[in-house]
């Protein structure tokens, strides 16, 4: 494990005593969801009894294709409505809230199919993420002196984030001219502009090259160090293993296992449903190569 900060230790020690069972309750949950059901015709895409996400942790949501991970994200963020169920964020009940309100409350998500705003420049994509902008009100927008100062501050913050995500060279380009991986990065950086309390990333690493993945992992850890909670969906088990404090496994809409990454990946149900029996070996091999890579 690479050097982890204070928050990582806190999160891991808080989760140490949590039982490794689906739906386990956490000491300080930021998100609590109960009996969430979403059906598409006859198919129950999501059928979650109970799940909690520990505040300040990096929690991974994994599971086979079609397990219902994206649908679950859509439900929690108000982009889709469940047939049943209730959930709360920071103790506030969230059912039937419009998605923009969910985001304003500090629960911001990215999309599996990236949504870069093509004909906006990269920097404008970023600025769109900033919260509470005076110049976004119709009347105020006509009087630049009302919002200039705020805009300058937001721009400074955006530039710092762009640099962090190696997008500073693309600052003035149209987002539509970015590569697929760069768009993923832009979307994540843009979500961070809103300083979310809980950031929900849907496959943030898909299409990002290995070298950049390493630095992205550091960024995600940094988000945790800055006090936010991260919930992410990912198929790359090395990454999940590397950065998550806790892993939740979904299959066919249900949560089938929970626990720290090491435990979950040894769970036979998870291996059957998702990883496949050959995975354990592959993981140790690549885990070794990762360690040697770091020593070098």
């Amino acid at each position: 494990m690479p050097a982890n900060g204070q928050r990582a230790l806190e999160a891991q020690s808080a989760l140490a005593t949590v039982p490794r069972v689906p739906g386990a309750s956490k000491p300080d949950p930021i998100l609590v969801a109960s009996s969430i059901v979403r059906r598409f015709g006859g198919l129950s895409a999501v059928d979650v009894d109970h799940v909690e996400v520990q505040r300040g942790s990096i929690t991974a949501l994994i599971g086979p294709n079609g397990a219902g991970k994206t649908t679950f994200f859509n439900l929690l963020t108000g982009f889709d409505a469940p047939d049943e169920g209730a959930w709360s964020f920071n103790g506030r009940s969230m059912g039937r809230l419009s998605p923009y309100r969910v985001a304003r409350l500090g629960m911001v998500r990215t999309f599996q199919l990236t949504k870069a705003l093509n004909r906006l420049r990269v920097i404008d994509n970023m600025l769109l993420g900033a919260k509470g902008q005076r110049g976004e009100r119709l009347w105020a927008s006509l009087f630049p002196f009302l919002w200039r100062g705020q805009e300058v501050k937001n721009t400074e913050r955006a530039d710092v984030l762009l640099k962090r995500f190696s997008l500073d060279a693309k600052r003035g380009d149209f987002a539509g001219s970015l590569s697929g991986g760069q768009r993923k990065l832009l979307e994540m950086a843009r979500a961070l502009m809103s300083e979310p309390e809980l950031i929900m990333l849907d496959e943030p690493m898909a299409g990002v090259n290995p070298a950049l993945t390493q630095s992205l992992l550091q960024h995600i850890k940094m988000i945790r160090e800055e006090g936010s909670t991260v919930l992410f969906v990912e198929h790359d088990m090395d990454m999940v293993h590397d950065i998550s404090d806790w892993v939740i496994v979904m299959a066919q809409g249900k949560i089938i296992a929970e626990g720290p990454p090491g435990d979950v990946m040894k769970n036979s149900e998870v291996i059957d449903a998702y990883l496949g029996s050959r995975h354990e070996k592959a993981l140790t091999e690549s885990g070794e190569s990762l360690t040697t890579g770091e020593i070098k």
Binding site: P99, V108, F111, K115, L117, G129, L142
Partner: protein, 328 residues
């Protein structure tokens, strides 16, 4: 063949009242479609609301023009809300369907025999509805420059019309380069992305719909005041489509697009029409009758515009790189 007459007519019309009306309508569409991505196919309804408010309130009810104008603008806001509330939560195509249908409903309503008392049926409303405005005319004589001829009345309308366009263009420029403009452009690109960042896209779309509709309504008011006559068959869907043509010609999402588009569109239309007329009168063209000119000029201008869209699809002001992004 009087070529200088053809040019003079074309220039006069390109800067004239009709170009102003279409420019205003296209400026509204620019806000709605160009910047926000809303497909309003009923812009003519907003113009009709403006023109008929003047006609009905001044002529049928005998009230003042200065009362009629704000009422017309309020009616325009009401129309935008009625159109927007049910459709803006839905996919973009619903707004398109509802607006085009509504524009026809309004035209058929003001044309109906049942409401002839108020709206004048197929004859519309005729009378000095713009008199209060023309009473303020500071010009004392007609204008007769080599290539520009306007009556004193037209000169006054044109002066005020282009001044309004200048003010609205400045306001548009301020709007679209502000954070508000960034949000609506974001909505045009991907509404869900903007929503996921905590912006209430519905409200922004409504604002754009209302503002764009108001610009169309101002166009309708100019129409009534300048022509002192409003007729239902002036307000056919073609008006909306010509406004879109003007917008795309000048370049969508460009602040000056509608102005340049309107001037070029009307110049070409009048030029081709007058040119054909002169050729027929001079006996150079024998296979056409003067009555054919109306439709044929549209065919020719249409072909020209097709050429423009093939060779310069981004319009005159547009940025080709920006257009190429759509294909990705």
């Amino acid at each position: 063949m009087d070529f200088s007459f053809v040019i003079g007519q074309s220039i006069t019309q390109a800067l004239g009242v009709t170009a102003i009306i279409y420019c205003l309508a296209a400026m509204g569409l620019n806000l709605q479609f160009g910047y926000t991505g809303l497909l309003n196919f009923g812009q003519v309804a907003f113009a009709a609301i403006g023109a008929y408010s003047i006609g009905v309130i001044v002529i049928s009810f005998g009230a003042s023009l200065w009362a009629a104008i704000p009422i017309g603008l309020l009616a325009s806001v009401a129309l935008a809300l009625v159109l927007g509330i049910p459709t803006l939560r839905l996919r973009a195509d619903y707004l398109a369907i509802v607006t085009i249908a509504t524009s026809e409903i309004i035209r058929l309503m003001v044309r109906s025999i049942a409401l002839r008392e108020t709206f004048g049926g197929a004859n519309g409303i005729n009378g000095k509805m713009g008199q209060a405005f023309h009473d303020l005319n500071p010009f004392h004589a007609d204008i007769e420059l080599p290539f520009l001829t306007w009556t004193r009345q037209d000169l006054w309308v044109v002066t005020v019309g282009w001044s309004l366009i200048a003010i609205f263009t400045l306001a548009t420029w301020l709007l679209v380069r502000s954070p508000w403009g960034r949000v609506v452009k974001g909505i045009r690109e991907d509404e869900n992305a903007v929503v996921s960042l905590g912006k209430n896209a519905y409200v922004y779309k409504m604002q754009a719909l209302v503002l764009g509709g108001l610009l169309g309504t101002v166009g309708g008011i100019v129409w009534a005041v300048a022509k002192q006559s409003v007729q239902p068959d002036n307000f056919v869907p073609d008006v909306t489509f010509f406004s879109y043509t003007i917008l795309l010609l000048g370049g969508a999402a460009r602040v000056f697009g509608p102005i340049v588009g309107a001037i070029i569109f009307w110049f070409l239309l009048v030029f081709v029409g007058e040119f054909l007329n002169q050729m027929i009168a001079a006996g150079w063209i024998t296979f056409l009758l003067p009555t054919d000119v109306g439709p044929i000029r549209f065919i020719l201008v249409g072909l020209g515009l097709m050429g423009l869209m093939i060779f310069r699809p981004q319009g005159i002001f547009g940025d080709k790189r920006e257009l190429a992004l759509d294909a990705r």
